[in-house]
């Protein structure tokens, strides 16, 4: 070894602390235990190669500190996809560059011992050092049938500690057990006493001979894993071709001999477990959960509770987040004004105010909705109600090619696609997550509302009626929501059956017992989400805002059509200083403001963004849009509602326009083409609203899709398909409407 390498290896050893893995079934309180052990110092990362998030924290055992890695909950190490493979890869340390865990703490739900021990058996038979944490022991006692810790330990031959992440019981003994096994790993190993059929053992040996492993037992364990997991249709990664071939051979031969390898493997483990006496006396009293479910899954009461819960969730996102959003906007506006006034005019000032501060504001403004959604999601998830929501709406979602758990992200999409896309991580499978991400942006989010309001109020006056009795504005608004919902559902059904066609893996959803959520866990998860949004998606959004600002602000000094300074001078000169000061001063100021607005408008029109508007005009003309609308569409990329203020600037009436402002509305009604015909007819308005409903005019959405899918491919696809969809629908509406004489 080179001396330099030796030195760095030594240095590396000094800083490297042992890693332990925390693994087990879902719904075992594993995350709560992780939070208890590591406190607030976890770092969020990703498992290599997949979009599965992982947390690594530090646990102070007293004598030393170890690194704890939270392994995603699984019912078995057996896998059929790269995502499910994470469990075995991380506990065996199979990923290159990742340390092998010194031991695995298997979190066991003491109320569902046998199924949880099925998972633990797979580690025990591989001779991986383990410590079993019998979590939820307090709940098991309350239900009247706790397992006997000593018996479990005697039967399995590995350390077993009774703990409760909720009360903190047993954490000290757990630390001691981990310390002991760290020093003497053999204390965490046991000689498995379950015996597989002889023929199966021979099959396993054939595979064990092909895999690299730390011990003969581990090679056998990997062999069993391969026999159970490898399949012609699996989506596993890094399985050597020789192993694949041998599994196929072995399975074919077994089948010919009338054997069922899956049943032999799984059956052996469960038969052994079922034959043991873990000291559980009597049957568990699950009356509470059953009583609650009699109400919450009741066709009428359950349905009403569901609607009420979803109503509250939606109301929270849509309305309750509003004061916080306004406060954030006001704070950033205040900051922008002060910075603007403190610095000399010029490009640095504009960059800081309109680029950086504005950009930071457009990131932070998402936090209220993100935090509210994840706070509520945490409660729904940890209480066990989320599984019931999925159960109740599964039939509905199945027809869209999705399953029940996609409902909440879809619903949240009506408020804002950004938190909704982040919520897709409650879905287990990558394919379901991506499909949901691809359709959520079609839901009519709250940022589209100002655009609809402006166009409807300008082009469909309150007294107009369709067919003589339907009020046009209300009809149009309802129509837009129905339209976007229909489109989102159709897109889900189409994409789910074509390019995102999922493998036929029916989802088995557990309906866990109801439990009181821990506030600390919920809040911690919420902070974690907020933090990753700010640091990862936030930076992309900020960068995009700066680019967009530059597009609309450069070139700084375009050749203007005439001398606005001369206009200003003329206005100043025309003022007679001897006349009635106040009245004239007001006129004077109004005249100057008009000149300013006209100059800003022309500068915007001649900016790169404005030129882009001209450039895309041939593309959007068939939709009924002129180049000024094109500039608005460019501006709207920052956020859809920015369309309103951008149109204010384009039309030379200032940026401080909102969807209710009369001058902008009148300007839209009065805007003429070169040939004198109005630019905006109700048909153009409808075409424009349809375009907004369908296009991916939102860089924040794209940034979050990129963060959550961990690739540029999906945001690129999202942008492309939504833009094409928007163009086609607007084209059909506008050209069709024109042909029909509207």
């Amino acid at each position: 070894m080179q001396p330099a390498t030796a030195a760095s290896a030594t240095a590396g050893n000094r800083v490297q602390m042992p890693r332990i893995a925390l693994a087990g079934n879902p719904n075992t309180g594993k995350t709560s235990l992780f939070n208890r052990l590591t406190g607030a110092n976890a770092r969020v990362g990703n498992y290599p190669g997949v979009t599965v998030e992982r947390e690594i924290g530090k646990w102070n055992l007293g004598s030393r500190t170890v690194e704890v890695m939270d392994v995603p909950g699984a019912y078995s190490l057996a896998a059929r996809s790269a995502e499910e493979q994470v469990a075995i890869r991380s506990v065996f340390g199979l990923d290159p560059g990742e340390p092998r865990p010194a031991l695995v703490v298997v979190v066991i739900d003491a109320t569902q011992l046998v199924r949880n021990l099925y998972f633990a058996m797979q580690l025990i038979e591989a001779r991986v050092p383990v410590v079993l944490a019998l979590n939820l022991i307090d709940v098991a006692r309350a239900q009247g049938s706790p397992p006997d810790r000593q018996r479990v330990e005697d039967i399995l031959g590995v350390p077993v500690v009774a703990v409760s992440a909720a009360t903190g019981e047993g954490l000290e003994p757990l630390a001691r057990a981990v310390e002991r096994v760290l020093v003497r790993p053999d204390e965490g190993r046991s000689v498995a006493t379950w015996r597989y059929p002889r023929a199966l053992e021979k099959d396993v040996d054939r595979l064990a001979a092909l895999v690299a492993a730390w011990s003969p037992e581990e090679a056998k364990a990997l062999g069993r894993w391969a026999l159970l997991s490898v399949d012609v249709e699996d989506e596993l990664v890094d399985i050597p071709e020789v192993v694949r071939k041998e599994v196929t051979n072995v399975r074919r031969q077994a089948e010919a001999a009338g054997r069922d390898i899956d049943a032999e493997l799984i059956g052996t483990r469960y038969s052994w477990l079922d034959a043991q006496d873990f000291g559980i006396r009597g049957t568990a009293d699950t009356g509470f959960t059953e009583a609650v479910d009699r109400f919450l899954l009741h066709p009428l009461w359950g349905g009403l509770t569901f609607l009420l819960t979803m109503g509250v969730l939606f109301q929270a996102l849509f309305s309750w987040s509003d004061p916080a959003i306004s406060a954030i906007e006001a704070t950033f506006a205040w900051l922008a004004t002060h910075v603007h006034n403190a610095l000399p005019d010029g490009v640095v000032n504009d960059f800081l105010v309109q680029g950086v501060i504005n950009g930071a504001g457009s990131v932070v403004v998402f936090l209220p909705q993100i935090m509210l959604l994840f706070f509520l999601l945490g409660f729904l998830e940890d209480s066990g109600y989320m599984a019931r929501v999925a159960f109740l709406v599964d039939r509905l979602m199945k027809s869209l090619g999705l399953h029940g758990r996609a409902f909440v992200p879809m619903l949240s999409g009506y408020a804002c696609a950004v938190p909704a896309i982040m919520a897709t991580r409650t879905l287990e499978r990558q394919r379901d997550r991506v499909l949901t991400m691809m359709v959520v942006p079609l839901m009519s989010c709250s940022a589209r509302l100002p655009v609809y309001t402006l166009i409807i109020s300008a082009l469909f006056p309150p007294n107009t009626k369709f067919f003589g009795f339907i009020p046009a504005p209300a009809f149009m608004m309802v129509f837009m929501y129905v339209f976007s919902t229909t489109m989102a559902l159709t897109a889900a059904a189409v994409l789910g059956r074509t390019m995102l066609k999922g493998p036929k893996v029916p989802l088995l959803l557990e309906l866990p017992p109801y439990r009181v959520p821990r506030l600390a866990t919920v809040v911690r998860q919420m902070w974690m989400r907020a933090k990753t949004f700010l640091t990862e998606a936030g930076t992309t959004i900020l960068a995009c805002t700066v680019v967009l600002w530059a597009l609309l602000a450069f070139p700084r000094h375009p050749l203007l059509s005439h001398d606005y300074n001369a206009d200003r001078a003329a206005i100043s000169a025309s003022t007679d200083p001897t006349s009635d000061a106040s009245e004239l001063a007001a006129d004077h100021r109004a005249a100057l403001d008009a000149v300013d607005a006209a100059e800003t408008a022309e500068k915007l029109q001649k900016s790169y963004g404005g030129q882009l508007g001209h450039l895309v005009e041939p593309l959007i003309r068939p939709l009924g849009f002129d180049w000024k609308i094109g500039v608005g569409l460019v501006g709207a990329f920052a956020a859809r509602e920015v369309f309103v203020s951008t149109m204010g600037v384009v039309y030379g009436i200032g940026a401080d326009q909102d969807e209710q402002s009369v001058p902008l509305r009148e300007r839209i009604r009065g805007e003429k083409r070169d040939d004198g015909t109005p630019v905006y007819t109700p048909l153009v308005g409808l075409s424009l609203m349809i375009f907004f409903a369908l296009s991916a005019q939102c860089m924040s959405t794209l940034a979050v899709v990129r963060r959550e899918s961990r690739s540029w491919k999906w945001p690129a696809f999202l942008f492309a398909y939504m833009t094409v969809l928007a163009w086609c629908f607007s084209f059909v509406v506008y050209q069709g409407g024109k042909a029909l004489g509207f």
Binding site: R80, Q112, R115, Y118, A390, F391, L392, L396, L511
Partner: protein
Amino acid sequence: MTLASVPLRTPVTIAAISGDRPFRRRLMELGFLPGVTVQVLGIAPFGDPLDIEIRGCRYSLRNAEATCVTVNPIPASADLAAK
């Protein structure tokens, strides 16, 4: 008889499990094995999925998949003995 056609709240025992391999394997890994007692506790609105109880755990299983689980009725005497 399959799990999809069992009357509500009537314990039955599993006879065999068919269906696609990954699905069958997953069911078995949750302890759905021949001889084990299982019952349907409820049905979601619109008739799908089912709320199933086995080994003290509950799962939501769609009708299409429940038909892959063949079950045997528990003889009345055994049922009484179990209680």
